[in-house]
């Protein structure tokens, strides 16, 4: 007997006694196996004709009926014991009990107590849990901890009042509980600027805004390409209760050159802030903006500097700044001039100005979600970083940090096998940076599949039968967030060809070119979230159901 597998789903339900909405679990209920199928199964398993099984069941029923309804407990071998029980109101005295018995009797129940072997099987049954995503509206606090725009993987802050145009590939929002469960299907509404200067508001569907537990990705470049917009003017993110959790407004796209955002030493800056540096240190400045190939003059604090590289959307240069206010001013041949206010503060010792993980900022003192066991590329920006040693990086147990390159201003590293716990950078007993890493499970869970005909969902342990003629098979995936999967998430063996998957409907199909059983593993974020087994009998024989785990 193979070990069973029970999936327990948690669904938001109103709890009356404390007036809250809570996630309450119950076993996923698959189809009810009809009596005829049980008789057929038992007939094959015991090599007894179906008619004998049915006669035996009738005889057992009659016997149980007779004994139980006359006050006995009845034990059915290998199955369990049936007995009666009574629910009745209590009485103050024997006299009252006898007098009001008929009135006080509420109901008679038939109890079933499974036998010890069945109980033992139950205790060894594997369980898995998942959360039903049909809308948990409880105390789910949704938070956006940072909002950035990305150009060529470098992160720029979304400075309010600045213009963000078609050169920006994406807007990324980092935070917690940014999945559909908390935000709904299309939580982002954005206003875009057309070529003629007019605006259009759009509620972004999943084609344009992907939702993850810790990240929202607004696919600006795709929107600009599809709709022919010139830039974005504002966006609003709402939670599932329609409350605004983040709102940003930007300026109209200017004529000529423009600065949208600036990063110093690979650290995004907010306009007007003071950037820490060491006197005499050379800092690298990256400017994101418009028509930057037209820039003829770059001045930092009134001192002219030369660009080291330039494109229409990004300009880089190095400067050894003086302490104090040093606005960055760009100008072109037509006399257009744009500026961005920054100050530089001379700082002794070690300063960590930012740490990014896979391009997303870790928030000092905040919480960051990681997938347990995965690796993350880390960039640490600041001053005096060459003084840091490996022992200064304290990671959660089981995690490790590999430093791949370092300078006084930038350390590139990888967190390997990230786990839950605190990431700290401590030097000479002074804590320079700390962030809590919280394991975030894969948001995709596959619980079963349906046959090509409409019907009850099958468990994953029920194999899909491929046609014995050409090996073709098809089905519909059942589970949570399966629309996030693509064909690339299915590890199909070489014996399965032409595999296809439609995320919108969960429909999959393919051809199994061999016989026996093939396993297709479904992998999301390096985690196997389920596997489908395809069975094909020898040509000419009947197709058989598999019973894989």
């Amino acid at each position: 007997m193979k070990k069973g597998q029970i999936n327990v789903g948690y669904k938001a339900k109103r709890v009356a006694y404390d007036n809250t909405t809570r996630l309450v679990g119950s076993a996923d209920r698959y189809s009810t196996i009809p009596y005829s199928a049980i008789v057929a199964y038992a007939s094959k398993a015991a090599a007894v004709p179906e008619s004998s099984i049915e006669m035996a069941m009738e005889a057992l029923y009659d016997a149980v009926n007779y004994f139980v309804l006359n006050g006995h407990s009845v034990q059915i071998p290998n199955l369990g014991t049936f007995s009666l029980g009574v629910h009745a109101k209590s009485a103050a005295s024997e006299v009252e009990f006898s007098a009001n018995f008929a009135k006080n009797l509420k109901r008679i129940i038939l109890r079933f107590l499974p036998d010890t072997e069945l109980k033992a099987m139950l205790s060894s049954t594997a369980t898995s849990t998942h959360v039903d995503s049909t809308g948990f509206k409880g105390n789910g606090v949704v938070a956006v901890t940072s909002a950035y725009s990305a150009v060529n993987a470098l992160l720029y802050p979304l400075n309010a009042g600045r213009a963000y145009g078609a050169q920006f590939t994406n807007i990324r929002l980092a935070g917690t509980r940014l999945s559909k469960t908390y935000l709904g299907v299309a939580p982002v509404t954005a206003v875009f600027e057309k070529e003629d200067g007019s605006t259009q508001q759009i509620q972004l569907s999943e084609d344009y805004a992907s939702l993850d537990y810790g990240q929202i990705n607004i696919k600006l470049k795709k929107i600009f390409n599809d709709r022919g917009f010139k830039g974005i003017r504002s966006f609003v993110v709402r939670d599932i209760n329609n409350a605004i959790i983040l709102q940003r407004e930007f300026a109209a796209i200017p004529a000529g050159i423009g600065i949208a955002a600036i990063a110093v030493n690979s650290r995004p800056t907010a306009e007007g802030e003071t950037v820490a540096y060491k006197a005499g240190q050379v800092v690298e400045v990256r400017v994101a903006g418009y028509s930057l190939l037209d820039v003829t003059t770059i001045k930092v604090g009134g001192i002219e500097v030369e660009a080291t590289s330039a494109s229409a959307t990004e300009l880089r240069f190095e400067v050894s700044p003086n302490s104090g206010n040093a606005p960055i001013v760009l100008s072109d041949e037509q006399g257009n001039e744009v500026s961005y206010n920054l100050s530089f503060g001379d700082t002794a010792g070690i300063v960590i100005s930012s740490i990014t993980s896979n391009g997303m900022p870790l928030v000092n003192g905040g919480t960051t979600n990681v997938i347990a066991g995965q690796s993350y590329n880390i960039q640490i920006a600041g001053n005096g970083l060459d003084a840091l040693v490996a022992e200064d990086f304290i990671l959660p147990a089981g995690s490790s940090l590999n430093i791949t390159s370092r300078s006084a201003t930038l350390i590139a590293a990888t967190i390997v096998n990230a786990q839950s716990g605190d990431l700290k950078v401590v030097h000479d007993d002074a804590q320079l940076f700390a962030a809590a890493l919280v394991a975030s499970a894969s948001q995709v869970s596959v619980t079963g599949w349906k046959g090509s005909a409409a019907g009850a969902a099958q468990s994953l342990s029920t194999a899909i039968t491929a046609s014995t003629d050409n090996g073709a098979f098809s089905g519909i995936l059942v589970g949570q967030n399966i629309e996030d999967l693509a064909v690339g998430n299915f590890n199909t063996p070489a014996t399965v060809t032409g595999f296809s998957y439609d995320p919108a409907t969960g429909e999959f199909s393919g051809v199994y070119t061999s016989t026996g059983t093939a396993t297709i593993n479904i992998v999301d974020n390096n985690t196997t979230v389920g596997s489908l087994k395809v069975v094909r009998a020898q040509s000419g024989g009947g197709a058989a159901d598999g019973d894989g785990d």
């Binding site: 005889a59 079933f112 072997e117």
Partner: protein, 127 residues
Amino acid sequence: MGQIKVRGKMQRVAVIDDNRVLARNVRYSTVKGNELISYASQSAHIAESNLRAATLAIREAISYFVLNGHHVDLGKFGIFGIRTKTKSALDVEQVDSKMLRRMSIGFTPSKELKEAISTLKIEAVVE
């Protein structure tokens, strides 16, 4: 038609801190598996071996289907299925397998059995 006796017995009820007469059905002996098989075999003229094979096979069927999340219809007996008791959670992050407190095999009697129970003759006795 069956008949059962319900006995009233004075007992301490903690929640109301008082003595009350509570109802309990009088339970006679437990009919053991072997006795049931013998009785069913004689009354329905079926070989005991067939009855034993049938009960074993039915158990196999129940354990295979029920322990994989299905409910099983056992005809005149009723429907067997998994029941769970879990702790509730206020947010998604708290949900894990440790919240599963207990699993049991639940049983819902068939319509025939319920009707048979509803026609029971009940006699009240006081100790």
